[in-house]
Amino acid sequence: MPFKRYVEIGRVALVNYGKDYGKLVVIVDVVDQNRALVDAPDMVRGQMNFKRLTLTDITIDIPRVPKKKTLIEAMEKADVKNKWENSSWGRKLIVQKRRASLNDFDRFKLMLAKIKRAGVVRQELSKLKKDTSS
């Protein structure tokens, strides 16, 4: 299987360990085989080990080591935030975060909604069963 996601300047990555866990950062330069210079609109540019990064499918068009302003403009132009939040990976993370922050009443409502959905699915299934058997 060939590789689809490359470490390159402008690759958006998700931080999967450490202080900046869960942040989307942009690879702005490569220090060496193991580390990248990484930047995001809300953090000081710093180096990060590739072991802490998970590459995403999103890339933006930036020159090597851009100024912060250029980076932010390029991220707006490529619409990184929306692309991420509409991707299946991004949506899953948002749902996970929502589920983790539910209170007991929300979990009760969730339980009722699940029961309701299961009921509707079961009704449709029984209808299909009746059609095939008849």
Binding site: V31, D32, L37
Partner: protein, 148 residues
């Protein structure tokens, strides 16, 4: 290597960019500890380090190159590499000179391969680990998926 010089406490972000070095003031006195603050810690530089080290059979000179954002980081890389490659420990290494080398003058292919403005390479293996040490367990229910 603590982040305090005497009673002066450094803010945490400073600690990430500076490191104490021990400089002997007189040959038999206690060391004066100086902090080296990196002028530009967000810029990647090629560091050339000239060193003299003592091996089991004698003294040798070496020139090594490292890519890093700070001098302290490059020197740390040097010490760990000397320890792993040549089994030379900290007391047996003397740094003669360090310098920031412009890309044209770098000698080692290992650093020159990163002098590419359109650098692009895949990450071959994904390191699967829990996001915090707290979530670490000895046994897992499934085998990890190592494809990036």
């Amino acid at each position: 290597m603590d982040t305090a010089i005497g009673s002066f406490k450094l803010p945490e972000w400073r600690a990430h960019t500076c490191r104490c070095i021990a400089v002997p003031v007189f040959s038999h006195s206690t060391c004066l500890r100086l902090q080296i603050f990196e002028k530009n810690p967000t810029k990647i530089k090629n560091y050339g380090i000239w060193l003299r080290y003592q091996s089991r059979t004698g003294y040798h000179n070496m020139y090594k190159e490292y890519r890093d954002t700070t001098l302290n980081g490059a020197v740390e890389q040097m010490y760990t590499e000397m320890a792993s490659r040549h089994r030379v420990r900290f007391p047996c290494i003397q740094i003669i000179k360090t310098a920031t080398i412009p890309a044209k003058l770098c000698k080692r292919d290992n650093t020159k391969q990163f002098h590419n403005s359109k650098i692009k390479f895949p990450l071959v293996v994904k390191k699967v680990r829990p996001p915090t040490r707290k979530l670490k367990t000895t046994y897992k229910a499934t085998r990890p998926n190592l494809f990036m």
